[in-house]
């Protein structure tokens, strides 16, 4: 059986959930081989192995993280030429997509981004035009390079060796053009990752800058907090939490849109959610056309009362 390369992403030394999803998907296509670009293979290998990685290739050249994107693509090209995998799977993060794009150029190989599923033949599903269409596509030249969105599958364990192998990569001066001169870590919210959460509660213009009712309901439901572009542009909530075309695309079991009118920019990021609840003062808000339950009212009254009732029922 041929091998499938999975580019692993680590958070605090452990593989991220989307990485374990990639390994699970990769098993449909062949034997998963994880690649760790940068430090951390040692702490991640056991978990990668549990999810099916037969080998864990470790390329720990400091240039991989001292410079933006290009060194990772260069290292990956060298690894692909050694391993000759059936496909390369990468998480659909902004950086993952850029690495994939550069790799596609280097290999002259077909690239599919933002897949929501990959079948055993390597054909992908994508959700396009703000979620209004689905596209099935395939790569017909070169090693297929596919970036996959979070939640494409549930990670399933399938124990494999996960043996670490050090890989020598050589990073050219040409790939060292964009230097990372400073890194300022962001504070963790303590809530689930927005794109991975089963429940997302988002606030928009209607919050008038007060996100407490949004955060309190999210916490009562064990969910993540999101924000519309209007709220982010107003400086009320950080960009990392923006849901929509230029922010995150989420597809949770439950999406609560509070004080969000539902412009196309926002709908593009959430309309594939399983259930949608909207709370808005304006009965004409387009968000109500998508909602399984719409409540015409003030989020500052409805959300706190609902949060209190949820807490009461939980005892």
């Amino acid at each position: 059986m041929s091998e499938v390369l999975v580019v692993a992403e680590l958070s605090d030394g452990a593989p991220t959930k989307p990485t374990l999803e990639l390994l699970t998907l990769a098993r449909r296509l062949g034997d998963p081989v994880a690649v760790v670009l940068g430090e951390g293979a040692g702490s991640a290998a056991a978990t990668l192995g549990e999810c099916g990685a037969t080998r864990v290739l470790s390329a720990a050249d400091p240039a991989l993280t001292d410079y933006l994107v290009a060194p990772k693509a260069e290292a990956l090209e060298q690894i692909v030429r050694q391993v000759e995998p059936a496909a390369v799977l990468i998480s659909s993060t902004p950086e993952g997509k850029e690495v994939a794009g550069r790799l596609a150029v280097r290999l002259d190989a077909g690239l599919l981004t933002d897949a929501t599923d990959v079948d055993a033949e390597g054909a992908t599903m994508q959700s396009v035009f703000a979620g209004n269409w689905t596209v099935r596509a395939r790569v017909r030249r070169g090693t297929p390079i596919v970036t996959v969105k979070p939640n494409a599958v549930s990670p399933e364990p399938s124990p494999a060796a996960g043996a670490i192998e050090e890989v020598e990569v050589s990073i050219s001066d040409a790939a060292k053009g964009a230097r990372v001169v400073a890194t300022e870590p962001k504070q963790a919210s303590g809530r689930p990752e927005l794109t991975e959460a089963a429940v997302v509660v988002s606030g928009g213009r209607g919050t008038a800058g007060n996100f407490s009712p949004i955060e309190d309901l999210a916490d009562a439901l064990g969910g993540a907090v999101g924000a519309s572009r209007a709220a982010v542009d107003s400086g009320w909530y950080p960009y990392a939490y923006q849901v929509g075309q230029t922010g995150k695309t989420v597809s949770p079991q439950l999406y609560v849109a509070a004080g969000i009118s539902g412009a196309i920019q926002h709908r593009a990021g959430m309309q594939t959610s399983k259930a949608i609840v909207a709370v808005n003062k304006d009965p004409e808000a387009p968000i109500f056309a998508l909602a399984d339950l719409g409540i015409v009212g003030d989020l500052h009254k409805v959300l706190p009362a609902a949060t209190e009732e949820i807490r009461r029922r939980r005892g």
Binding site: K97, A104, W133, T134, G177, A178, E184, G294
Partner: protein
């Protein structure tokens, strides 16, 4: 100095967007406009031009005849000239061919800096700037929430979920900017009038030394197998909140769906 801004003409996202029979985006059947995300790139180029001496801002587009509207809008905003790569053989090109054509065009235009938007609003891949940098062998300082140019160095602030990175690159370089980079200006009446007199060149693949057979639908490394409209979501129940009934309706919905 010369700055090239890549601008794309896209179907209007607020209208109905669909696919043509060959699986490509239907660009004839819907109204189009300059991709909103490219307006941020034009804006950043114009800010550099506003502050610097003798900065030329060239808007470059690749697309069919009506894509000229993307250049027109850029010129109205304040760009100094336009280049329109217009060639029937381009139809159906994948991102590999598109990046190859644009790389050849950038080599021919020979700017010191290329500014792109973070993604197009139709394809939304967000990979083109990085691929262009790869093809040209230029530094790619991409996804900047801010962009600064000082001497021969560009600096961008790139925000990820876990950190804020400061990235530096020497010119010539490719940068892309996000919708956080600053609101794009509206064309003034003076800008609209002045745009009519600004030069726009039309280039073909032959001008770029690219064979028609290397690009287009038949040469694409990827293939669309099927396009399916998603059934519209059915609107559910809409209830008014009267004396706390909204919260009760919400909690009942959550309980029924086993979310609590």
């Amino acid at each position: 100095m010369k700055i090239v801004v890549l601008v794309k003409y896209v179907p209007d996202a607020t209208g109905e967007r669909r696919f043509a029979a060959d699986g490509t985006v239907d660009r004839a059947g819907s109204d189009g406009l300059l991709s909103e995300l490219d307006e941020y790139a034009v804006e950043q180029a114009l800010q550099i031009a506003d502050e610097g001496d003798d900065v030329e801002v060239v808007a470059l587009t690749l697309g069919p005849d009506h894509a000229a509207d993307a250049i027109k809008r850029s010129l109205q905003m304040g760009a100094s000239a336009g280049i329109h790569i217009d060639d029937d053989a381009v139809h159906g090109s994948d991102v590999l061919a598109t990046s190859a054509i644009l790389a050849a065009a950038v080599r021919r235009a020979a700017p010191e800096l290329v500014i792109c938007g973070m993604a197009s609003t139709d394809g939304t891949m967000g990979v083109l700037p990085a691929m262009l940098a790869e093809r040209l062998g230029w530094p790619g300082a991409t996804l900047g929430a801010t962009l600064k140019l000082a001497g021969d160095t560009v600096t961008v602030r790139r925000d990820t979920d876990v950190a804020s990175l400061t990235v530096e690159a020497k010119l010539p370089a490719i940068v892309s900017v996000t919708d956080q980079s600053g609101e794009a200006r509206y064309p003034s009446m003076k800008g609209i009038l002045a745009a009519k007199k600004k030069p726009v060149e039309t280039w073909t693949l032959a001008d770029l030394g690219i064979e028609a057979g290397e690009v287009g639908l038949a040469a694409a490394a990827t293939e669309v197998l099927e396009t399916t409209p998603r059934p519209p979501r059915e609107a559910g129940k809409v209830v008014p909140d009267e004396d706390g009934s909204g919260a009760t309706a919400l909690v009942d919905f959550l309980a029924t769906g086993k979310y609590i």
